[in-house]
């Protein structure tokens, strides 16, 4: 099954995402911020990255930029978790190389449905 890296500084969101994805059968790892995620992504190849935008140490946008620069992640789907008020953030994310976004608040169904868009 596809492996996914879930990045969020909020433990509850991270748990929710992880739990949802795991119950759908995905292989999930968690990272607490961009720095952690970059490190984990380099030690293992993930099929998809789901990241929050606003995080300490390294935000989601920078994380995506950094990941896109790595050969292994050139075409990997990367989704940002963003709030509806963040239209500029969506665009900023796209400019950095994000595949798409999931709008917060979302429920588990939405998450899985969106994920199906990028994972086969």
């Amino acid at each position: 099954m596809a492996s996914i890296l879930a990045v969020d500084d909020s433990a509850s969101m991270r748990k929710m995402v992880t739990f949802t994805l795991k119950s759908a059968g995905y292989d999930v790892e968690e990272a607490v911020d961009g720095v952690d995620a970059l490190e984990k992504a380099q030690s293992k190849q993930f099929d998809c990255i789901i990241t929050d935008v606003n995080m300490p140490n390294k935000d989601g946008i920078t994380l995506i930029k950094d990941l896109r620069a790595i050969a292994n992640y050139k075409f990997t789907p990367m989704l940002t978790l963003t709030t509806e008020s963040g239209m500029e953030k969506k665009m900023e994310g796209k400019a950095a190389g994000a595949t798409g976004w999931i709008v917060k608040p979302f429920d588990p169904d939405q998450l899985l449905k969106t994920l199906k868009k990028v994972l086969g």
């Binding site: 500084d9 909020s10 433990a11 509850s12 969101m13 748990k15 929710m16 739990f19 949802t20 119950s23 759908a24 059968g25 929050d52 606003n54 995080m55 300490p56 896109r68 050139k74 075409f75 990997t76 789907p77 990367m78 978790l81 709030t83 509806e84 008020s85 239209m87 665009m91 796209k94 190389g97 994000a98 595949t99 798409g100 976004w101 917060k104 608040p105 979302f106 429920d107 588990p108 169904d109 899985l112 199906k116 868009k117 990028v118 086969g120």
Partner: protein
């Protein structure tokens, strides 16, 4: 898939409180004259996370409330809004309000709507005070509704004209070269389209360069797609949502269906144009030599699409049930929750130690299996190892309960901020040693006494700015809150650079209150201790901040209940230091076991100064005050243990035979006369109150290796008890 979200609530609440604390600390740290963008960012992030989480977990009132805070903070962050002290105070108030909301939700109580409404109004006022600079939110909302409305209408109309088999959409999709680099994949998008209806696709590859020039990372193909079926426009748009700006996209309804109603005139005109265009391209295509390839490509795509198992619309249902069960269980667990967050490294250490114990145990098992006397050495070695490991294990387990004292300290900047502004004083709070770890139960109980002491320092210790300047001190007073380990204790000091305590004033006050008589001669220390007497207050006028002087005796009692003590040192004109000594944990203590008659008692090792042997001749009997003996220029009262506990004296209960354990309790020395010293050991404290009742002079009990019960002595309590 439905997942019970309540299982994440506990984590969410904890996170909220942490976030709120960070926001509060950030707000207090903001210096309006010199804004640190990172601080604002941190505060913003706190609000942002709470908003995101509360929306997801269905606490919409919290989400709405934080949304306003977030908007305000966002503007501050972008520099669109001046950061003012008023705004900071409003935000601080909102943090409080939010904290109450969340704890109400956590405790399943009613949220105080009127309070929320009031803070919402405050925030709104602040936000709209500069209304001109805040158009974005409303603007965005309207934009969204504009987008969704027409498509809804269209979908409605398509529903009314159902059974129209001819209806569908024609999509011209021309990706830019870089589309693949965002991780989007046209094949996946086509697959999604094929789920909506019957899909036919035509790939235009005339722009694909020759193999030598081709960059495989670029997308040179464009597509003409047709999806047949009754599909609302927004579902199609959603599929292409993410590639907006990365491609040219043109979606048109396929003919026979009359879409007159709302669809803008432009889209009506366009279909014709478009069909012409595609006809033109299709007409051109046959001339291309590469046509066979097109067919192959096309066939492959459609095969792909068919081969994909209609993504599991039925399959997820079963897992669903399982998930529900699981989450029901976790819900039960969550309800019990008084949880503690533990550093994973501590748990690793714990697991490591358990491993060691298991190894030792199996080694001992091996020794015991065919035991012969020549294995005694091995057995002893094994037992020694077991002892060491058990001790380490115990340490590791205790460590799990240890929390950094910042859990307590972090509340004080706010307290100091609020009180100093109320008093009109300028005060800086310095926190030192916030990472010092202390037992969770101590953390919970030390908060109130500390609040009281800090309030006292703020109110009585630090002078008004004018007085400080007159005294040649900096205008801003300093209170230092410091924690560190010393021996088996943790020491918390509250150091202020205020005017210190005036011994004579204290004594005069105590005399006036009739607490001491005016002939008594007191040392500095004893004079300072007067403030711990019930009913003592030196403030010339009572304030609502440090109360009516009923507090200090309670503070001292609470700290002593924790097995700690409190000391004051002060220098007139320079400040006061209050030091609190607390045991690291309340569950285990290092003790000295002593024999009294047939009984064994435990004296806490920390209170023992020394143990000596004296003869009857060295005793001084003081009429009405018992016995004392002289130890290096100090007269120390003797407490005969067998007398106080009414134990049958043994042959060693005579002076000269037994031992005097010199112990200290609350700065007072006393000699505990016991028969013998038995040995030092760590003992697990069992509450006497929980199992029996409170006994003077005894702080608890423990179970010894042989199964008998030993009482743990409370030295300060013994001193008080024996004086009676």
């Amino acid at each position: 898939m439905s997942i019970d979200m309540s299982q994440f609530h506990q984590v969410f609440f904890e996170e909220c409180f942490e976030g709120l604390e960070a926001m509060e600390a950030g707000l207090l740290n903001l210096n309006i004259d010199d804004i640190d963008p990172e601080v604002i960012n941190t505060i913003f992030r706190g609000a942002h996370s709470i908003k995101g989480g509360s929306g997801t977990f269905g606490f919409n009132n919290v989400a709405d409330f934080t949304h306003i805070m977030e908007t305000l903070l966002d503007e501050m962050r972008d520099g669109r809004r001046q950061v003012t002290q008023i705004a900071i105070n409003i935000l601080l108030g909102s943090v409080d309000c939010l904290r109450e909301m969340i704890s109400s939700i956590q405790n399943e109580e009613e949220v105080d709507e009127s309070r929320v409404a009031q803070h919402t109004a405050d925030l709104d006022n602040e936000l709209n005070g500069v209304a001109e600079s805040t158009p974005p939110p409303s603007h965005k909302v309207s934009a969204e509704t504009i987008i969704t409305e027409p498509s809804e209408v269209i979908s409605d109309s398509s529903e009314t004209s159902d059974t129209n088999e001819e209806s569908g959409w024609k999509i011209a999709f021309c990706p830019y070269l870089d589309l693949l680099k965002t991780g989007n994949d046209p094949v996946r998008m086509f697959r999604e389209l094929s789920e909506l209806g019957e899909l036919t696709s035509l790939a235009n590859i005339q722009d694909v360069p020759s193999l030598f020039e081709m960059d495989p990372e670029e997308c040179n193909i464009s597509w003409d797609l047709k999806v047949m079926g009754d599909i609302p426009l927004d579902e199609i748009e959603e599929i292409f949502n993410w590639v907006e700006g990365d491609c040219e996209l043109d979606i048109q309804p396929i003919a026979p269906k009359p879409v007159k109603k709302i669809a803008p005139p432009v889209s009506q005109a366009e279909p014709e144009l478009d069909t012409e265009e595609t006809i033109a391209t299709q007409a051109k295509e046959p001339q291309q030599p590469t046509q066979p390839e097109i067919i192959v490509e096309q066939a492959e795509v459609s095969k792909d699409i068919e081969a994909i198992p209609k993504p599991p619309t039925t399959a997820p249902k079963e897992p669903n049930k399982k998930v529900q069960l699981d989450s029901d269980q976790s819900k039960l667990i969550v309800q019990v929750a008084s949880s503690i967050r533990v550093d994973t490294s501590k748990i690793d250490a714990l697991i490591n130690m358990v491993g060691e114990v298991v190894i030792t145990q199996s080694m001992l098992g091996l020794v015991g299996e065919n035991f012969t006397m020549d294995k005694v050495d091995q057995l002893k070695k094994g037992l020694a190892q077991l002892e060491r490991h058990t001790r380490d294990l115990q340490q590791s387990v205790m460590n799990v309960r240890m929390l950094p004292i910042s859990f307590v300290f972090s509340r004080f900047p706010r307290l100091v901020h609020d009180i100093s502004s109320k008093l009109g004083k300028k005060i800086e709070l310095k926190l030192v040693g916030e990472n010092t770890e202390i037992d969770k139960s101590v953390v919970e109980l030390i908060n109130d006494p500390l609040v009281h002491l800090i309030r006292n320092s703020l109110d009585h210790g630090i002078e008004m700015p004018a007085n400080r300047i007159a005294a040649g001190k900096p205008e801003t007073g300093t209170i230092e809150l410091k924690a560190y380990h010393r021996g088996g204790h943790i020491v918390i000091e509250i150091i202020d650079d205020g005017h210190g305590m005036d011994k004579n004033k204290l004594i005069a006050k105590a005399v006036e209150k009739g607490l001491i008589d005016d002939s008594s001669v007191l040392t500095d220390k004893q004079a300072y201790e007067l403030i711990f007497l019930p009913g003592f207050s030196t403030a010339e006028k009572l304030t609502d901040i440090s109360g009516r002087g009923v507090g200090m005796d309670v503070v001292r009692r609470n700290i002593e209940a924790l097995g700690g003590n409190i000391e004051i040192s002060s220098e007139l004109g320079h400040g006061t230091t209050i030091a609190i000594h607390l045991p690291l944990t309340l569950a285990i203590l290092d003790g000295q076991s002593v024999a009294v008659g047939d009984e064994t008692y435990i004296v806490p090792l920390v209170s023992i100064i020394e143990s000596i042997n004296i003869t009857e001749k060295m005793l001084n009997k003081v009429a009405g005050k018992g016995e004392t003996f002289r130890l290096r220029n100090q007269y120390i009262p003797i407490i005969r243990m067998h007398k106080i506990f009414n134990v049958q004296p043994s042959s060693k209960s005579k002076m000269g035979e037994g031992v005097i354990v010199v112990a200290e309790g609350q700065g007072v020395l006393c000699g505990l006369f016991v028969d013998d010293l038995l040995g030092q050991q760590q003992v697990v404290i069992k509450s006497l109150e929980a199992n029996y009742r409170r006994v003077d002079g005894v702080s608890g009990a423990t179970i010894l290796g042989d199964g008998s019960v030993a009482l743990i002595l409370d030295v300060p309590g013994l001193v008080r008890f024996s004086n009676r």
